[in-house]
Amino acid sequence: MLSLKYGVIADADTEVIIELRLPRILLATAVGAGLSVAGAVLQALFSNPLSEPYTLGISSGAAVGAVFGTTLGLEWVVAGLAGTAFCGALVFTLLLYLVSIRPGITAVTFLLAGVMLSFFGSSLVALWMALSDSNGIQGAMQWLLGDLSRARLSGAWFLFSGVFILSFILLSRWRELDALLIGEEAAITMGVPVPTVRRRLILLVSLLVGLCVSAAGMIGFVGLVVPHAVRRFVGSLHLRLLPLAGLWGAVAVTAADFVSRMFTQPYELPVGVVTALLGAPVFLWIILSRQKVA
């Protein structure tokens, strides 16, 4: 079945190609699930349907962290980059949180803050690229825009289990997330210890995004589009939303990866480019259809 999907390259069943493709599929699945779950949680946390790791700039924070990790030489340390990416994601998420609690913040203003953070992060990465010797630049650019080709079996398993564990922990918070659907004040009055929950969710989401970005670069719009699509079919309650969003996110990124490799042989499109090309129009459509409702 795998060879059917990937069989465009001839001889799709040599052992070593499985050694290359299996980690890649594993990684795509893990990253797709992780980003979708993170997106859904961010949407509940900030009560903002336009939230997701990429548009809010959290992914770019993770990228800055990962890039910083490479300058520290942590590339070859197990989870070294994931650690620095987590720190980067956390800093940006905290900044976002500070913005979100300002009185009078609207959904669109909040999103703008996220976009600014995203630019800021990208500029920091560009700065790093400018200061370093031009040798690794083009390779780095590929990673930044979303690159699943670096998948190794051990790394992919690490990521897969990390995403699985974190998603499960987030799933266990379904009650709190559901309560947050009608606002923080209502949630408090329904028994949710909101300040504590908020802290924990921010931490968990930053960890999740940090993991995904450190392994595969910035893949955008998955965390936005997948939860929205799934909600249309199963509603907003998280006990059902999170697992299904994870599942469909995994499918989406695996499919995007397939697209990124099949049509421009032997070149590989960065996966993030594919998700952006497909996801950005949907993002726009969501914004416009909200105007109608409002």
Binding site: I9, A10, D11, T14, V16, I17, E19, L20, R21, E75, A130, D133, S134, N135, G136, Q138, G139, Q142, S149, R150, R152, Q265, P266, Y267, E268
Partner: protein, 313 residues
């Protein structure tokens, strides 16, 4: 019983002999430019090159058996026969799966251009990857030797290196003659690789040594980088006497535009004296004997310039 003893004796002698014989007789263990020891078969028949310069070098060494090369990176266009060989993608991000599917018994990569992560990944997949480095001419010679050894043609290396050294010494002689004629004055040359952003050759590129060999001075020879990206103001400050735009590939257009662009900065000595040249630089970038061709092209430009200068005086 007697025959058993003899057999054991013979066996022991053979074993001892194999241990004593030089390693190159058997599956070679090549020590490449990273210091890693790579185990390569005697005469690899399926070679993949990760960068055009190595494709050229490998083709040179393979001579008529160019069919030994089964995979090359994009723009491996010399010798022309390589254009029919399957492409594995651009050198900075080649297609791992493609390389693996070709089932090579030797992969040649370089530290100047290939992504370290990708090359390491190939090693992790148990492919024999031999890596070279070409920061200066000594390393260029080393790479000739390493690649020849890896391809099982060690004798070829000696040949190439001799030719290389001879060619170099001739060029150096001519350079010192020119220097005597000009009372030791050396031209300051800017070697431009790209524009937007402006990319030049720094000290860590072997182009630096190329300039030194032909008796010129690299305008950015003091910058400890391979290909620094200076600002225009910095270039004006350094005031090179000669600007050479190194054109790679077939499209001349962008490089001509680059050359014309310099016209805006009349303060640079090179521009004032109209000493901006485009050089089709493919030969320069290949650590093969074609490097000598490239050097003589540079040489001619330098000569022209010096003559022009002496006329002005």
């Amino acid at each position: 019983m007697h025959s058993w003893k003899t057999a054991k004796n013979l066996f022991t002698k053979t074993v001892l002999l194999t241990w004593l014989l030089p390693a190159t007789v058997f599956a070679g263990d090549i020590i490449d430019a990273t210091g890693a020891s790579v185990s390569v078969s005697d005469s690899p028949k399926k070679i993949v090159t990760l960068v055009p310069s190595l494709a050229e070098l490998a083709a040179d060494i393979a001579e008529e058996n160019i069919g030994r090369i089964v995979g090359v990176s994009e723009y491996s266009d010399y010798p022309p026969a390589l254009e029919k060989v399957e492409s594995i993608g651009p050198y900075f991000h080649f297609n791992l799966e493609k390389v693996v599917s070709l089932k090579p018994d030797l992969v040649l990569g370089t530290m100047d251009g290939n992504s370290k992560d990708q090359v390491m990944h190939l090693r992790e997949l148990k492919l024999p990857v031999v890596i070279v480095s070409t920061e200066n001419f000594a390393q260029v010679e080393d790479s000739m030797r390493i690649v020849s050894d890896a391809m099982g043609a060690s004798s070829r290396a000696a040949q190439m290196i001799t030719q290389f050294r001879t060619g170099l010494s001739r060029i150096r002689e001519r350079a010192s003659e020119r220097a005597k004629k000009n009372s030791g004055k050396k031209l300051k040359v800017l070697l431009q690789i790209g524009a937007d952003p402006l990319v030049v050759a720094g000290r860590k590129s072997f182009l630096n040594e190329a300039l030194e060999t032909i008796g010129a001075v690299n305008a950015y020879g003091d910058v400890e980088a391979r290909y620094p990206r200076p600002s225009m103001e910095d270039v004006i400050k350094r005031g090179p006497d000669l600007i050479v735009v190194l054109a790679l590939g077939r499209k001349k257009g962008p490089f001509q535009a680059m050359a014309r662009d310099w016209g805006r900065f009349k303060n640079i000595p090179a521009v004032k004296r109209k000493q901006v040249f485009i050089v089709v630089a493919d030969p320069l970038f290949r650590p093969t004997l074609r490097l000598l061709e490239g050097l003589s092209m540079l040489e001619k430009i330098v000569e022209k310039n010096i003559n022009a200068q002496s006329q002005n005086i």
